[in-house]
Symmetry: D2
Subunit: 148 residues, 4 copies
């Protein structure tokens, strides 16, 4: 199964502010922090579509990252306000892909991608139910609650 | 020097949402994450008073934590919206103290305190300049930009 | 119940090397990293007494931190080899206390304490079984496997 | 410039043990922790060749990650002893590439790659000096100090 996704429906923005603890001794955001930003952004992406990922996780339904890649173009710094643009780029029967761009104003600092598998609490692959596919393809239905 | 602080001036609230990466295999927020929450909350506390801590840090003016304590009463969980209540409780010539309460709705999950020293880039103690003392005692002057 | 602990039996050393990602833009180890060091050190402390904490955790038996305090005297830096001295200082029916000193050679950089409760997977308090009390009071029985 | 690297010279192993704080509420090591493992492993890789990266960093000579990718095959768990196999796979005038495999016994849990640029404290690209190229291509000269 491959589901065609309209990019206007597939995109959300998540704003966050860089924390001191996310910097390193180079004086910039540590490269591993961007995986945390991507994660926060895709949880917010789901929330914009009415999905509370915490409820899924409590029920043992998980979307672990099975592939991740990041290209670092320019450093983000402490207290920067960043916008993470998150796009669902692929939706298959048991996995999906997101692409991310980390923006500071007009400047794109970092780009990345993750592939996530859908599994149950026994770590077995799960097929996305039809109603979930519908939600994932529906576009934003909830107001922005940036940051929180 | 001891400066008397009015508690209405000395208090700010900072809202944040628990990230997945902040949880541990007990299914709750890892105890070290609260130090990051306290830190984000006191940087926001400064921002509410017109101080951008990142500018201080770039100029080599730092407020390192020299003492920290935390009492954990009830666990926070993934995607919880938390309010961190931050109160400046002591202001001396070269150091200050904050007290924190982590709230989920009416419930206080965690309490803590930190003492911070004021140092320069050579890690020498710095006396707070008069204008900084004034700002620290002034109360909020900036609108809430919760989360970001 | 209060169990008297002989300090020679109650002490273990754990060596680790500071990672780059544990530093912050002040160029020193971030203050929250010490809670991770204390945690690694007390897991190693248990391992020296034949207890694999991961097995406990898998069975839903946990020792969450309910209080923590840290006093920072001097900064640790990237690639420093640190020794964490961990002492069991109190053992009660449902909780215990550890004290820690972070040493770089002869110098004590940081001191701290944690109190841990014993709970089950339903987050209910558990009384330490007699055989566990015996193990906790026994002193080291396993060779050092520092770092790993 | 492209330098040919013999793979026997280019490979080192770094052992570490998974910390509790590196797990998440899925009960496994959080996917961002592997970037920290790769980082610790390449710092150890340099140490095996007589290079203390902390000295480079203090002098303002840095190797920031400009690209990273990870493929997660099987989860690592709390207290697992992991071996990180690190191979220098490309050495150019201003950048280099490492490939990593995270092993638990015979099993490869995770694979990854990073590209690092060589820059100075003003974040300008630096050409690797000849003596550094020599060291990077020389193979291990220092004994194993696993973990620490």
């Amino acid at each position: 199964m491959r589901t065609t996704i309209e990019s206007t429906c597939a995109t959300s923005l998540h704003r966050l502010r860089v924390r001191f603890c996310e910097t390193d001794m180079m004086g910039i955001v540590h490269h591993s922090s961007y995986l945390a930003y991507f994660e926060a952004a895709r949880v917010a992406w789901l929330r914009r579509r009415g999905v509370t990922y915490a409820r899924w996780a409590e029920r043992g339904w998980h979307l672990p990252v099975v592939e991740a890649s990041v290209r670092y173009r320019a450093p983000a710094r402490f207290e920067d306000v960043l916008e993470i643009e998150t796009v669902l780029t692929q939706l298959r029967s048991h996995s999906l892909r997101y692409a991310y761009r980390v923006l500071r104003g007009e400047e794109c600092l970092t780009e990345g991608e993750t592939r996530l598998a859908c599994i149950d609490s026994a770590h077995q692959l799960l097929r996305f139910p039809d109603e979930v596919v519908e939600v994932l393809c529906s576009g934003e239905t909830q107001p922005d609650q940036d940051g929180v």
